[in-house]
Amino acid sequence: MDDPLVADASAGAPATLAEIRAGSYYDSVVLMQLQRALAALPGVLDAGVVMGTPANKELLVQNALLTEEVERAAPEDLILIVRAESAQAGNTALKRVDDLLSARRSQHSDAYRPKSLSSATRMIPEAEWVLVSLPGRYAAGVVRDALNLGKNVFLYSDNVSIEDEISLKESAASKGLMVMGPDCGTARVKGVGLGFANRVRQGKIGIVAASGTGLQAIMVGIHRLGGGISQAFGTGGRDLSAEIQARSAKQALAFLNDDPQTEQIVIVSKPPSASVAQRLLAEANACNKPVVVNFIGSRPTKGQQEGESCIRFARTLDETAEMAVGLTNSAESALDSGPGSRAPQGTGEPSRPVLIPGPHSFLRALYSGGTLAYEALYLLQDSLPSVRSNGLLEGGLTLDNPHRSQGHTVVDLGGDDFTVGRLHPMLDNDLRIRRLLQEAGDPETGLVLLDVVLGDGAHPDPASELAPAVEQAIALADEDGRSLPVVAVVIGTEEDPQGLGRQVEQLEAAGASVFTRHDEAVRAVRDAFVGREDGRKSRRSGPASSVEPGAEDSGSCSGFAAINVGLESFTDSLRAQGAEVVHVDWRPPAGGDDSLANLLSRLR
């Protein structure tokens, strides 16, 4: 461990101090908590606790938290950096780091926490699933171990190579097992939500999803409409690509087709490779159950619509939910394509109408959910000129720098640009709050759109942090003589730990216009920019649900057991749902020493 490196240490003057710890690994939740705790210490103005990846260093630059020493940090180095009122305050804060870390550790002194997958298996042999949310470079090895132990895998980690993904999925299939992911954010197995999952009714709709927040939005939509979920399998965002050949999706589809609990099947994905789509649709068509397909942002071809008898196509996530529940039958009637079109089964207007943004100002959509961001881009692209994003749409306009908005901007803060060695914005609001305030200070910002995704695994009360930031952002713009409309869309159910109602209330009180249907929120934003708000105002949607809710069993856990390697919040949320779970206290092999780890793999 190096001594604190002082960048600007004249006594009494603000100083930025950093400490680099080589070869460290900590759960990203731990890093977030440490960052919070450091920032809360007396005399500390701002703090950063991140792994030294290029993306994280870029983030530190954005927040004026960078020293030359930090710039030299390697991706496996832990960066501790504080900006403080004085060098002394900064030093004192950095010296508290070990105390803060050990204080946390002592909270877990009770039951034994296994250090490896094999000892966890010994403790809970009935576990059929292993959840893996380690940093990408460690994930594949652990997944391989899990498959060798005969476990199915929910792989939340991203930054796993295509080669690894193919070999893991092939190996799983040869063993009759499934790998959901990499980059699989959510799933529902035997009534238990994995990863980021909402509390929804158990029911008859089975879902195959190559999209995390897309799956969440559909499940929430189905629940809102009175329907329920049998099983929901994530596949990882790349599963329907030409390289991966929908290996997981086909497995999941076959499972749902045979599953007696499932009566309807939903397939949702970003636009897949054409040949993969064709083969997957052929398999879907061979199912003896009705299938609703949403390839977000791609309109079905005539041939697809006419030729595939049991398949129907939906265009938005909420519409997918509607079609699955059986409320609408035609893809054509669902999407409003111009002024005056009807929004079916909406959730009503927000209590605060969306204000018209100022002239020559732009949309700044700050998403935590990748698929939601993608759907927003798709819904906006024909109406707003030149919407830029951080590489969400293939062939779309890209931001020069993902950390700086340009014109109309839709940015996915859960994308790889932002999450390497860092916590997802659904868990840690810090990044989004910083970005929100940055946008509020930009005179070109005309309207801010935020998604707030609830459920197990997500932040326990996101609105409690986001609402004050919204209020601050509005005030900041106001001081500058601008009005800043803020639109928020909350994806969740009343049964979620955060409570849909409580979240909506807090955000509304802060001055946001709040929606609970994503397509509706995006439409409202679009209308605000294209000046069609009058057409919208006359429209009042029908009741939220036309199916009697409560007809089906609400989600109850039927003996689900799992092993979790990585984020502790996943263990907590499984426990909260009544599942049996053993948490692995994982550390990098050989303390992160790569040459020793290589030697060990030769000695296996």
Binding site: P114, P589, A590, L600, L603
Partner: protein, 415 residues
């Protein structure tokens, strides 16, 4: 190269677990211990020169020469050792083990433990009990007098009793003691009572007179560590059975000489890997603190090497207070050791873990991979010769030992 480490380890551990150590006799070191000679003193841990020896080890070496009648006082003893007239050698090089300083001199009595499965033997000295004792480096007249009584009065009685009972199965005794709250290293209360009970009728029959029988029985019964030395010899006999299995990464020796911690690995023969000894973490007797403590010392880590001691901590919740813990911590200690061991013992089981076998056979690879080093329960010696035990606690060998050994293993076998 067709080395299968997993198979080699399985073979090594199988030999350790299947070894059946039986206490078969007691006699003079010079007559029994291989390689022992008139000018040799054995000591605990890896090899060490007089110059590097810590206080307790120096005191014990001096005391042993006085006991032997070779030196009249400290100065003469130091001259003889420093001058090379007397050689030093690790107990482990002579199939022997000794607690703390572990000094065995030619005329000392040693237990003979025979592994009746594989035929190898191991040796250990007599346990002196608590207080001012040679193994903590004390060598005053009081200590000498006690040693003389043990050798002149107690040893012949014990030797006769052991012979009369025609062998005492230490593995069976340990298995029972683990079900009575012992872990076999820091807690040997139950085992010592079982030991005394088994010998008692033979002592009563064989002692020259009832007063001597009573004296010997009292000494055995009062000493909660009576059985420690036979247990250590038994563990040595078991660990040696698993030593020198080609291609095995199982650790077959862990020992400290008060200056260095040393390990040896089954597949790497006699080679020691050493590094400076850490200080134990634990509880100190009133009036003492960590500042008074000597770096860890003794061959008693042979118990952990053989799958008991700290590895069986779950069986001995009564002594978790040494590390200011809770009974749950005792369970967790054993659970943690499963992460680095190759097998579970078939003879030694833990009621608290649903009679799961104790973790046995430390796998070098697992230690390096997980960063979890073996736990060792230990007594803490005062750093000055002769003060004695000042506490008890936990120590872990430094990870570097295992990393170094692993690299050497990879070189040796061409990985």
């Amino acid at each position: 190269m067709a080395i299968n480490i997993d198979n080699a380890n399985a073979a090594a551990v199988e030999r350790i677990v299947e070894a059946r150590p039986v206490l078969t006799g007691l006699g003079r070191a010079l007559d029994l211990v291989p390689g022992m000679h008139e000018n040799l003193l054995l000591h605990a841990g890896p090899p060490i020169a007089w110059e590097q020896a810590s206080g307790p080890l120096r005191g014990a070496l001096i005391g042993a020469l006085i006991f032997e009648g070779r030196a009249a006082d400290e100065d003469e003893a130091v001259r003889m050792i420093a001058g090379g007239e007397i050689s030093l050698s690790p107990c482990h090089h002579h199939s022997a083990v000794g607690p703390m300083a572990g000094v065995i001199s030619p005329s000392m009595a040693v237990y003979v433990v025979e592994n009746q499965t594989h035929g190898n033997r191991a040796y250990s000295n007599l346990n002196e009990g608590y207080g001012k004792v040679l193994r903590y480096g004390a060598y005053s007249e009081e200590v000498q007098e006690r040693l003389r009584w043990m050798h002149e009065v107690m040893a012949p009685v014990l030797a006769a009793a052991i012979e009369s009972c025609s062998g005492l199965d230490i593995r069976a005794l340990l298995a029972e003691a683990l079900h009575m709250g012992d872990e076999g290293h820091n807690r040997n209360k139950a085992g010592s009572i079982l030991y005394t009970k088994q010998l008692a009728p033979h002592i009563a029959k064989g002692a020259p007179d009832p007063a001597t029988a009573a004296e010997v029985l009292e000494a055995l019964g009062d000493n909660a560590l009576s059985v420690l030395n036979p247990v250590m010899a038994a563990c040595k006999a078991m660990a040696d059975a698993g030593h020198e299995v080609e291609g095995s990464t199982v650790v077959t020796t862990m020992a400290r000489n008060g200056t260095e911690f040393g390990i040896r690995v089954s597949g790497l023969g006699g080679r020691w890997f050493t590094s400076p000894c850490p200080q134990p973490v634990g509880l100190y007797f009133p009036g003492f603190s960590a500042e008074d403590g000597n770096p860890d010392i003794g061959d008693s880590t042979i118990t952990e090497t053989a799958g008991i001691g700290a590895f069986a901590m779950a069986a001995a919740p009564a002594i978790v207070t040494f590390v200011s813990g809770t009974p749950q911590d005792a369970l967790n200690a054993t659970m943690e050791m499963y992460e680095i061991t190759a097998a579970e013992h078939t003879a030694f089981t833990i009621p608290q873990l649903d009679f799961r076998g104790t973790p046995v056979g430390i796998d070098l690879r697992a230690v390096v991979e997980t960063g979890i080093t073996p736990r060792v329960n230990t007594g803490i010696a005062h750093k000055e010769a002769g003060v004695g035990q000042i506490g008890a606690g936990l120590v872990r060998p430094p990870i570097e030992l295992f990393t170094e050994a692993l690299i050497a293993f990879a070189e040796e076998y061409g990985f």
